[in-house]
Amino acid sequence: MKGLTATAAMGKRVRGRALVAKDGFSARYDLDRIKGVFSRPDHKLAGQSYVGRVLVLDAAKGGVATAWMLHEMGARGVVPAALVLNTVNPIMVQGAALADFTMMSGFSVDITAAVPNGAMVEVDAESDPPCLRILEEC
């Protein structure tokens, strides 16, 4: 089992299959939140379902809407299990705080290169320091 420590995290400890891409994240810009898929045509995960997955992406992008949208997605159950980013912006943090959503960021390596797509991972936001564990590679 491989562990990767982060500088910051919030939310509960969760497990799920990683969905990984060296690309950004914005709920407004990138998602069809009704269908639960990435809908931005030039996003590297276009067409793929994010529901229940641990999203491992590069940087938070776009506008302020994600601060509300994580809460709205959670209420309908069409939501990722967690969001893991190299770099956050305040909007992601604010959205995760409102929705009590699990998020982690700030690694010593490029997290999108360190986590294999499809791997079973545990996002432990409750440990000190926060830690992402690769439980099983696909």
């Binding site: 407004r28 938070a60 992008k61 302020v64 601060a67 509300w68 912006n89 409102l98």
Partner: protein, 413 residues
Amino acid sequence: MRLTAEEQAMLAGEAGPVRQWAIEHQIRVGGYLGAADFVPVSQAHIMADTESLGGAGVGWLEQLAAHPADHRQVRIPTITDPRGTDFGAAARLKQQPWMLDLERRAIAAFQAMGVLMTDTCINYQTIMPAVRNEHMAYGDTGVAIYCNSVLGARSNFEGGPSALAAGLTGRTPRYGYHLDAQRRATVKLRVTHTPRDLADWGALGALIGRHAGDYWQVPAVIGIDRVPGSDELKHFGAAMASYGSVALFHLDGITPEAERLADVADPALPLRASIGEAELRALQRSFAGRVDKIDVVVFSAPQLSLLELRELAGLLDGRRVTVPVLAVTSPQVKPDADRMGLTARIEASGAMLLSGMCFYQSYAREMAEANGWQALATNSAKLANILGGYGYRPALLSMADCVAAACRGRIGR
């Protein structure tokens, strides 16, 4: 975070449960982002369209608004970003009654909390411009980047919940662009072609945003050969924030903190790239190459100023559009446009002038499906960036070329 006695009292619930939620939320955010303490803010600006909120978010607001008046009222002037509709035009846009019901419920909740429903993303042009070094809690990326960069104010991107929390507590966690150290340039870029058109300013902002890459990067731009106007910097900043999540830029010799480049940038900061006209045209081609026939033309994101409406009216005079044309402005500008005859000139062409909404915040996906809209022309680089994910095929054109496309139904004059 270090808390004052007043902040500790709010956290303990002594100012009621609404303010207790607000400061708990702010402490979670501030703790994540390394804030040492709070900074008082003089204004908050809330983005809260109901497509983002959904029924869950509106219900959450209503729960806050149901508390006693002295517990739920904001403590500082708190204003709003565009709403999800122009109620007077909703039927023509084929928006559904459930959308309007959600909007009405959200408005009622905000009003119960003492929020001023300004419904604008150009408050720096129409409501009250920030003052240099004034700390704010701005909830629209275009507002935050303009006020940080052009006016020298200090704000992070404050999403709806956090802007509301700032309104309720009168403060925000002190991190990011409230701090001197974060306002130093981290990326240096040279511009070799100063744009002359609003769409080009947006395209330039988009390219700089892509170079910057994330929220914590601060571009310093050299080579702009004249002082841009407010609308030009509006499109420039809105696009930079949209493409790069950037919240602050400096223009050498132009923006207030960069009277000299050395004031904001280390002399050793390397030049990352040069951006010229070829790069601007390539960005525009990356959109327009996918589009020929046009279904709808939209001028929005940011809302149009009076001067943009004047330009649009001039381009539409004596012409008739053959596809829907939506121009969107603020509730503050619209009465002036009415009074000065601009609305009548624009609508005489068959175009619609909408107020208090913004296209992408107004159930853009549902409007596309209801109206059969896919191919969209706009002069907003920000709008072009957003709408791909909503199922549109956007083309980024000048305002004049958008009008020509609206009259012919396809791109090309």
